[in-house]
């Protein structure tokens, strides 16, 4: 997706070409706009190197270190953790990116330290609590050092804690997943700090929360429809932020739009197991709404110049068409009628929109 500055640059060139503004103003106007943050190859390699170094440290200290007595082993763990934290603190003023990477490694080292401490002292640790503890520590470090990487580690560890020894999807657990608080927090930080990985992670975590809710309610069709509407509303909210040029709001827009369509599509196939098929919306109407929603999303994606949303809409259209053909027993005449109707609606809507655009 082109950044705001890229888009203004294009517009400026057109306006200069049309004689609307002088070419001498171009540089001055562009200088008022901040450069979009791009992850260049060197930065990507620095991130990769940092994370791999963290994993190397974890592997090294976890390897067979029988020769070291218990207390020195524990001291080594703490020293490693505090060492990375200190290095991150030291670079926090002058080199924000390095500090971010170091704090991410610090969070990973602390997660490893929890597991290794229980190994050193044979503490029968609950894996779920260990993951939650590591996740909370990572989030605290993220807040302290404004580290997007540590926040991502926190979100992953809390997500792992939710999955470890839990039976939510077969109704075996009644407690709520911690992702319920971590996912919105991650989304807030992703938007506030402008982090693409955090945006993707938290969007997926939010969708996971919706799935958890659906699983708790026996994956009922009506619930899926309700959740689909909720996700569509969230996609609309993310789209509004996207149109306000809020960095990475488009990530949420794409994921929520995808999830809304997926939930809506699934609603007509529930329950997946067992007999009976309670139809909340009659099958043919469901397919028509699915087609219409996909078409509308495609138009919106094109209008917003959001490639991912457009791609999702096209895939959804294909899915809806396939479902309709299957429903109709591959009766091509009826299918042609339905597609013709949809095409007519799309054409009329397009003509109305063009008419309005000309009028303004």
């Amino acid at each position: 997706m082109a950044s705001y500055k890229d888009r203004v640059t294009g517009d400026l060139d057109r306006w200069i070409g049309a004689g609307l503004i002088g070419a001498d103003k171009r540089a001055a106007i562009l200088a008022t706009l901040p450069d979009a943050r791009r992850l260049d190859a060197a930065t990507s390699l620095a991130w990769l190197g940092g994370v791999l170094f963290g994993i190397a440290v974890i592997t090294f200290v976890s390897a067979n270190w029988d020769a070291i007595p218990r207390l020195p082993r524990f001291a080594l763990l703490l020293a490693t953790f505090l060492g990375f934290a200190g290095a991150s603190a030291w670079t926090s003023q002058s080199r924000a990116l390095v500090s971010n990477i170091l704090l991410t490694v610090t969070a990973l080292v602390f997660a490893a330290a929890i597991g290794l401490t229980s190994q050193i002292f044979d503490i029968a640790a609950n894996p779920r609590n260990a993951c939650y503890g590591a996740g909370l520590a990572a989030l605290a470090l993220a807040f302290a050092g404004r580290s997007t990487g540590a926040a991502a580690v926190g979100l992953i560890m809390i997500g792992l804690g939710d999955f470890v020894e839990h039976d939510w999807f077969i109704g075996g657990d009644n407690d709520a997943p911690w992702t319920l608080f971590a996912a919105p927090l991650g989304a807030f930080l992703a938007l506030r700090w402008g982090s693409a990985p955090l945006a993707h992670l938290s969007a997926l975590a939010i969708i996971y929360c919706f799935s958890w809710f659906a699983a708790r309610t026996q994956a009922d069709a009506a619930v899926f429809l309700f959740l689909s509407i909720g996700l569509a509303a969230m996609a609309a909210g993310a789209r509004w932020l996207y149109t306000q040029d809020r960095p990475f709001a488009g990530v949420f827009y794409g994921w929520f739009a995808w999830a809304a369509l997926a939930y809506f599509a699934l609603a007509d196939y529930l329950p997946l197991f067992g007999s009976g098929k309670p139809e909340v919306i009659p099958g043919s109407a469901h397919r028509l709404i699915w087609l219409a929603a996909s078409g509308a999303l495609l138009a919106l994606g094109r209008f917003d110049r959001h490639l991912a949303v457009s791609a999702i809409a096209i895939l959804s259209l294909i899915g809806a068409a396939f479902a309709l053909m299957t429903d109709l027993g591959l009766n091509l005449v009826v299918a042609a009628g339905v597609f013709g109707l949809c095409a007519a609606v799309a054409l009329i809507a397009g003509l109305i929109l063009r008419g309005r655009a000309k009028a303004t």
């Binding site: 207390l71 200190g86 603190a89 003023q93 610090t106 401490t117 029968a124």
Partner: protein, 195 residues
């Protein structure tokens, strides 16, 4: 008052480190203060993973053909232990609260067990078949260096062939939590310590 990023990071890191130390000290105190019991161990093997060497512990009690599986209440998550002699304890039953567990046996520990029922002697099988109770109390491994892990595994393989058994030395705290203190192999105690 605005605190700069550097001291903020160090404060959070110090709190994390102190929390970890706190867990170690609290667990050590609880381990030392709990009631010590010996639980029979079977089916172990040494492993070498990223996390280092350990001996896998299977807390398993054999039931003679004349015995039967202990009773359990519905939705239970506490185990009642009863003394069998010489510090060794066996399973008396399962209940869903500490109070009810203590009515079944003198010592309550958090956890569950599975029981494979023994087959009593019959005309076709005059000796019957042994059954087994497997405890799940959060203790499944004992970290130790490779040489000793392999020695323990060898001893336990012989124990499975009918020689003297090995025991897990377990501390049952006032919170009902079982904590591993060590292993008793061939009458020799291998205990965890700070060094």
């Amino acid at each position: 008052m605005k605190i700069e990023a550097a001291p903020r990071i160090m404060i959070v890191a110090a709190v994390c480190a102190l929390a970890l130390i706190g867990v170690v000290v609290a667990e050590g105190a609880a381990r030392a203060g709990g009631q010590e019991v010996l639980l029979p161990v079977q089916g172990v093997d040494p492993r070498a993973l990223l996390s280092g060497h350990y001996v896998q512990i299977d807390l398993s009690e054999t039931l003679a053909p004349s015995e039967h599986c202990p009773d359990q209440q519905e939705g239970w998550d506490w185990i009642a232990l009863r003394p069998l002699g010489a510090g060794v304890y066996g399973v008396a039953g399962g209940a869903h609260s500490r109070d009810q567990t203590e009515q079944i046996g003198p010592l309550a520990v958090k956890g569950t067990f599975t029981c494979s029922a023994p087959t009593p002697p019959s005309k076709s099988d005059p000796t019957g078949e042994n059954g087994a109770i497997q405890l799940k109390i959060g203790i499944d491994r004992f970290y130790i260096d490779q040489a000793r892990a392999e020695h323990i595994a060898e001893v336990l393989r012989q124990a499975q062939a009918g020689k003297p058994a090995a025991y897990a030395i377990v501390s049952v705290g006032t919170d009902g939590q079982a904590r591993l203190k060590g292993l008793k192999i061939d009458g020799r105690r291998l205990e965890l310590n700070w060094f």
